[in-house]
Amino acid sequence: MNVKREKVNGSMVLFVQEERIDAHNSADFKELMLQLLEQGETDLVVQLQSVRFIDSSGLGALLAGLKNATAKSGKFTLTNIQPQVLSMFELTRLNRVFEIYPNLQDVFASDQ
């Protein structure tokens, strides 16, 4: 799983550099998020600009990240979701569960 990390305004931003999140790489991705949370990075932002396809295991990995962050009283935010990927969140109503922003600027504007 190719993910670029960058600290922005105190948040850990994960830039997912894959076109697909599916059962082949979602376990790795989940593992990475849980490790970061374990290490005290309790403000995660997942930037999904490059992701053109997500399956149920990918949604499951993100949900695991959210639940874990919430359990640690942390934050877990998604940004830059492509329209077709977003429609998978809508179909599972997960768009109501996650905090979703159009871009990073809006994520940090909402912090003020």
């Binding site: 599916d22 059962a23 082949h24 396809f53 399956d55 295991s57 990995a61 695991a64 599972t92």
Partner: protein, 141 residues
């Protein structure tokens, strides 16, 4: 051919690295279907997803210990219907008893069959001697 427009058969080892190949075949077929009246890009995504979910399940529930086990996937377009069949050699399961996800209390798993049911027109699962088969149909008109 007598009515069949396209036939694809793929046999893969039970490894997730082949999911992208299978999904992308569905995606390309969706984009090619100029007989389809609806949103072809959406159909392409849905075929990619449905093939990925069905193949993932077949891989997951195959004979885990047998490196020679395989999953067969076929896609047929016949008149105005697209038929996907995914064959596994696992224990099988009862499709009808798979519940709809509880959207108020979302869980990490259990969304695959829901996607297939929601995005396609019919789904069935049969246990057979040689292999079990998940059959998925989508009308293209």
């Amino acid at each position: 051919m007598t009515g069949t427009d396209l036939q694809v058969e793929v046999i893969i080892p039970t490894q997730t690295r082949y999911l992208e190949l299978i999904g992308s075949i569905g995606e390309h077929i969706g984009k090619e279907l100029d007989s389809f009246q609806g949103d072809r890009d959406a159909l392409a995504y849905h075929l990619n997803l449905v093939l990925t979910e069905a193949t993932t399940n077949a891989i997951k529930h195959s004979n885990f210990n047998d490196p020679k086990d395989t999953v067969k996937i076929t896609i047929h377009i016949c008149e105005n219907e697209l038929i996907i069949r995914v064959y596994d050699h696992g224990q099988g399961f009862d499709l009808e008893s798979v519940p709809t996800p509880d959207f108020e209390h979302p869980k990490e798993g259990g969304m695959g069959i829901y996607f297939i049911r929601t995005l396609m027109d019919s789904v069935s699962y049969r246990k057979m001697k040689e292999a079990n088969v998940l059959e998925i149909r989508k009308f293209l008109t």
